[in-house]
Assembly symmetry: C2
Homo-oligomer: 226 residues x 2
């Protein structure tokens, strides 16, 4: 029996272009409209997260939907505190000023916050494939987060990842048990706009690197030539 069926369920050139368009037009969003995201939309997005690959099929993720304004205010306060510390670390005055002008989160404006966590305890003690690289449960959770980001873009929903937070403080607020780790704190909502380019590129913080410079052959530092 010929088991080769990789052409079943193949994607056409036009379909590939749709998939590439969602990847190219995905943005980190920090400016939101207040309109709520309907639960059926949110559910489709989380369903796609749940289809992400995971080491040993452990599905280590949980999704905490945060609607409480009280909790979001506490998180916003953590952001303010930590962001002030971050600014102080920037040696160059011009970059420090630019940093100060950037809007880096939408915790209170977004109608929803979403914490994505990794449960290190799931399926313990033995997870197929995790032993030699224990961080692969965290990595699996990140694969799910990229699916969230892309599915949200397909739904016209913006996602902004807020990393300028003391993670332990967030874990305390969300009452995560021992063994469960915060991976991402996301703002979720309909955006004011999807920018044509990443905001940090647009304001001159950093350029997109050349892909060719990032590809090596067989060993680190050996340029790949076609």
């Amino acid at each position: 029996m010929n088991t080769f069926n990789s052409d079943n369920d193949a994607f056409s050139e036009a379909e590939r272009q749709v998939i590439y368009r969602v990847m190219r037009s995905r943005r980190d969003v920090r400016e939101f409209r207040p309109d709520p995201v309907p639960f059926e939309v949110l559910r489709r997005i989380l369903e796609m997260a749940h289809y992400a690959p995971s080491v040993g099929f452990m599905q280590p993720w949980n999704f905490i939907l945060i609607t409480s304004l009280e909790i979001r205010r506490q998180i916003k306060e953590l952001f303010e505190m930590r962001n002030a510390q971050e600014i102080a670390l920037i040696a160059d005055a011009q970059r420090r000023q630019l940093y100060g002008q950037l809007k880096l989160e939408g915790i209170l404006e977004a109608p929803l916050n979403l914490a994505v966590t990794c449960d290190h305890r799931r399926d313990s003690p033995f997870v197929l494939g995790r032993g030699p690289m224990p961080q692969t449960d965290l990595y699996s959770t990140c694969l799910a987060i990229e699916n969230i980001w892309l599915a949200a873009r397909a739904e016209g929903v913006g996602i902004g990842w807020v990393s300028i937070l003391d993670p332990q403080a967030v874990e305390n607020i969300l009452q995560l048990p021992q063994g469960v780790e915060l991976v991402a704190y996301l703002c979720v909502g309909y955006p004011i706009e999807f920018r044509a380019r990443p905001m940090l590129e647009e304001v001159g913080w950093k350029e997109r690197m050349r892909l060719e410079d990032l590809i090596y052959h067989d060993r680190w530092g050996i340029r790949f030539t076609e």
Copy 2:
């Protein structure tokens, strides 16, 4: 001026279905045909990786294309050694037997291996948003890996993540410098098939969990009710 343009470049229902189909039909592939993947296909896949989000737009990833049979043989040996140790850890005899029957990598059959690395040194000392959560550079690299996986599926190319390896030994073989970390070792090639379900689900290793059980509201453990 009304800057709201989130309906520009929106995705239709049919387009969303394409995007969801690629997420649903993506698989961890361990059985490959020997046919090489043309470079232009590979380049499109890596271009999508490069469009992934990254903390502070740091783009911490590199892609090492491994075609050398000699290097792949060394990696395969690492797998064999480590896999033998893993099997010995499984307490339950039936699961140990099942594990032993699983094909968990395609290092030598796949025409290409791909190591994805994270360069912790990039843009140092100050990366916008990384300070409070230093692992976000690794996490960003994982977001790029999910784009690889999805773009590959769109191109009919299979990806298999091999985590049953001593990462330091792989880093030595690939001559990664200090400050650069291996995140994923992937096998890349045209698959014998894209299975309808994940292999670990198909053979009864683990079921897909119920999404509803993974969604909480405002705090850990509080079930979300619509």
